[in-house]
Symmetry: C2
Subunit: 143 residues, 2 copies
């Protein structure tokens, strides 16, 4: 017998933020703040909670919370159902916060891209850079 190998790829984007993890955590977990830097949503920081992320142009992602470790780690599925395999995305986003002398090191990993999903893979890399830049700007405005 031979096993079936499903090779997937992971996008990793890291950013140093001049804010403590606790402050960053709020922006990652409060729906009205998530809407500011990511997308409209009905998120709740509860493992098993299902929510959607809604793009301004009508696209919708189906998500489920997997991991909630306050101020340390947040993980959720990031799925987009499509009949065409090239566009059917089943991925997991994990955000890891590590305190540093100057604030927080944020690591975003999105795993699950199939080899043929090159555009989604490259799009995610570019997209997350933009999302995290907006997150940084937003957190700077919080009390």
């Amino acid at each position: 017998m031979t096993g079936i190998l499903t090779e997937t790829r992971t996008v990793t984007v890291e950013r140093e933020l001049a804010h403590p993890p606790e402050k960053l955590w709020r922006a990652l977990t409060q729906p009205h703040l998530i809407a500011e830097w990511l997308m409209n949503n009905d998120f709740a920081p509860v493992v098993g909670h299902r929510f959607s992320l809604r793009g301004e142009w009508g696209g919708v992602l189906d998500c489920e919370v997997l991991v909630v470790e306050p101020s340390k780690r947040l993980s959720y599925t990031w799925n987009h159902v499509h009949e065409d395999r090239a566009y059917n995305l089943t991925s997991v986003v994990t955000l890891t916060l590590t305190p540093t002398a100057k604030g927080t090191h944020l690591r975003m990993e999105q795993s699950g891209f199939l080899p043929e999903q090159k555009q989604a893979f490259h799009g995610a890399r570019h997209g997350w850079q933009g999302f995290l830049a907006k997150l940084d700007t937003l957190v700077a405005t919080l009390d």
Copy 2:
């Protein structure tokens, strides 16, 4: 007998551009230019051509070209299939170009939003303002 009335709403965004319609038309119909202001795509200005618009975060729209009147009018479907009716979008985008003394008046209409799709409706209004601003910036860089 009574008919079934399906009420839908239309988002309209207009913008004055300091460029002639012919130049704007290129940005509306060439895939590498569309990618700059809207999304990655496999568009072709041929009635009946099916194409997709792919968001950086993994979302995908299914589209079909409906109307191609060079430098005057372009229309295509802008659909997002989702099992939840609130997120299942079946819409039509129509871009109408009218020459003015200073350039072009661009009118974007997106029709087909159901009454319960309030967030998609408001998101589209905001989203198109951003898309058309990027389009304006892009066209300014073309020869």
